[in-house]
Symmetry: C2
């Protein structure tokens, strides 16, 4: 039996749910460090605090939301395992959390998913179910797994427990870097940005919250303005974690709590990613470089501010780097 709040398709977590999530997932996730770098500060004329979720277990913040969802399940609901669809970081995160709880995990991914991503899920003990690379095939495969196995769905972002878990990044950052003027998170499906914005506005309403996304996938910025879930543009982006539209739930949270959404060009994302590698010496994936890229391109204006930046993940194919042609 799904929790009624989980079943409510517009429910959102509050600060209390996020604090509960923080306690629930503490044994399973790292309290990641916050880095600063004068060279990068100088590039944008602000004081930047990089919350390094690339150093999180599984290499991305997704371990938080997935762990909160998996460890929120009752014994009875958990027994049959969990299922999700994601060829990226969320798939690995659900596999990780399920392995920690000792329950089965099923991850639906397109046959076309890169081998490195398949491996990342498989080595955590999850079962992969392949489907055709369409949304319809994906949803059908997910539903089939649920019917066959009784596994509970853990959606990548349209889930109140997942959003509560992602909000714990901001709770930590607020403790680690007092006196921030603004916090920026990348936005794809909006789980991280929803959680961040609720956590920040409930704790310290004066702090601005910004989203950042590729200009080539600016559906969140357009949805933010129109109030409807807008479709993704046809163009693709190197920021593979952000090729997703919002849900009605995440749009509602973002419209209520976010101050602005910036964008970054493809060249700007690559440049920002390389600067972070070169100057901060940490490995970040393209999606994680989008907030800093939006500052470099000044689509968000934070000059003179103390700004927290959520570095969402560090899972990159090291055989081919985006600045190598």
């Amino acid at each position: 039996m799904p929790d009624p709040e989980v079943a409510d398709e517009l429910a959102l977590p509050d600060l209390g749910a996020m604090r509960a999530a923080q306690a629930r997932i503490a044994p399973h996730v790292h309290r990641t460090p916050v880095f600063s770098c004068h060279a990068l500060d100088a590039e944008v004329g602000a004081e930047l605090f990089f919350k390094a979720e690339n150093l999180q277990r599984t290499g991305a913040f997704k371990a938080r939301g997935a762990s909160n969802a998996v460890f929120s399940l009752s014994e009875g609901d958990a027994r049959q395992g969990v299922v999700t669809h994601s060829s990226g970081n969320h798939g690995a995160a659900v596999a990780y959390a399920a392995a920690r709880r000792g329950i089965p995990a099923f991850v639906v991914m397109p046959e076309t998913a890169p081998r490195v991503k398949q491996e990342n899920v498989r080595r955590r003990g999850a079962t992969i179910r392949f489907c055709a690379p369409t949304i319809e095939a994906r949803d059908a495969a997910c539903a089939a797994v649920q019917r066959e196995t009784g596994a509970m769905l853990v959606h990548p972002f349209d889930d109140v427990r997942v959003i509560a878990g992602q909000g714990t990044v901001a709770l930590e950052l607020l403790e680690q870097s007092p006196g921030l003027d603004a916090i920026i998170a990348p936005v794809g499906g909006g789980g991280l940005l929803s959680g961040t914005s609720i956590a920040v506005k409930s704790s310290a309403a004066v702090i601005r919250v910004f989203g950042a996304e590729p200009a080539n996938a600016d559906d969140a910025a357009r949805s933010f303005r129109s109030g409807r879930v807008e479709a993704l543009p046809a163009a693709t982006t190197i920021a593979d974690g952000l090729r997703t539209t919002l849900s009605r739930r995440t749009l509602a949270a973002i419209r209520a709590n976010v101050d602005a959404i910036g964008t970054a060009s493809e060249a700007g994302i690559v440049r920002a990613m390389r600067m972070i590698w070169e100057r901060m010496k940490i490995i970040v994936e393209p999606s994680a470089a989008v907030p800093f890229a939006s500052l470099l391109e000044a689509t968000l204006d934070v000059r003179g501010m103390r700004v927290g930046i959520i570095v969402s993940g560090g899972n990159v194919d090291l055989d081919r780097l985006p600045w190598q042609t």
Copy 2:
């Protein structure tokens, strides 16, 4: 007038000198974090604590020794500036420390030094003096700068102040990770390993201290056995920071305080570097991967131990990675 202790060619710093160095350089260097990673622990059957000096200012531990030397100078000695020879991390570190003190820096480097390394020195405001790529030409150029300008020499490793500064890495690590059984540092000229071994054996003699170097540049292991400064083998190594022989001074410290020196193959260094990038999400240069590589190849046996590993630096040419052919 050089300090008489600096002029003594076998003088070594003691724990007191290292604590003084720690206080002296505190405003100029980061207290770098220590990372752990279960996946890497599992590879070697030990509990590893990576002291991330790749996140140090200038991207390497060298900022410590250079800052200690530069800020140890009297007002009178400092006025004419400092000179060193190094196309690598030490050159940038001396340039950095001199800029912090507001004095001139001259860095002698071979005409053949890669442009990225020249840029790293120049953008910190130092003056480059080019020389032919031989040791004789380098020493002659250094001496000429000293004569012409009155600048004080800050040797990359054969300097009691530099060794004291490098020893502060281990002082911090001992505080940050209590209960270590062993500490491993890479060894080229031996400044870091000398400082580490003195710091550790003076603080907690029970902790083992190991060096690690490329099998292709195993002069330190051979010098350690023979008691003489042995020449570098003709073969080269990807670990460009470790292509240096010891000095009589560093050999004396290492013979007195180090328990063993391990080696790593070229393929092992590349494999270790890539594992650290992929699993820990931090950028380390080949030299910094040598200690972990020596554990993977079991030329040092630390199974079951709690082991501190000094990650020496993270300055890498991101256009060409060693695993890309």
